[in-house]
Symmetry: C2
Subunit: 131 residues, 2 copies
Amino acid sequence: MKKIILVALLCCASAQMISAQSSTEKNKTMNVLRHVVMFKFVDKATPADIKKIEEAFRALPSKINLIKDFEWGVNNSPEKLNQGLTHCFFLTFSSEKDRDAYLIHPAHKAFTDIAGPSIDKVTVLDYWMHK
Amino acid sequence: MKKIILVALLCCASAQMISAQSSTEKNKTMNVLRHVVMFKFVDKATPADIKKIEEAFRALPSKINLIKDFEWGVNNSPEKLNQGLTHCFFLTFSSEKDRDAYLIHPAHKAFTDIAGPSIDKVTVLDYWMHK
């Protein structure tokens, strides 16, 4: 009987640990600051220039651990309301302090030096996530 | 002994069910189409007009089940690169077909009728999520 209780306790403990992880993920959404960056490239930017910028941006989360989440993609809206912007990079921070520190981070500065000459227009909006 | 095995099997099965849920969540990210909508309001739009539009947009997921995820927020970027856009609404679809059906959905059309007179500029980018 003791063995049954022990096995049950161990299994339930592991189930609870997994459940606790999901709960932590949920709590994180309470503290989510989005940073939406959109680019229009200059006409003379080559596919190679653009690929280099995509890869440089994608490398930032590995260099700046203030970035809590990162995703990106290329516009495919049929609405033609993208104002020439073709690329969207969508970053998540946990605080305005982290976002501000990212903006002046040397790795971010180095990225803007790489991207700058190929960029015609940048649009940036940040927002605290509401549902 | 049989009881021990039974309890262990039951507990492990429940742990696996929880784990499988996380796995399903992960797989969903493979099929994520983002729809980023940003507004600049006309100067004469009152706080009440803007609040009405926020609430009308927030009501759309309850009316259009093609919307898989929804969040929104008000710009607080210190970079002043928001091109006058103040509000960001961030929707997720599972396919371009669903996104296209949303665009012509009667509830979406009704929303644009409400919002239209208060909107000076709209910027929209859609993208398949890449990490």
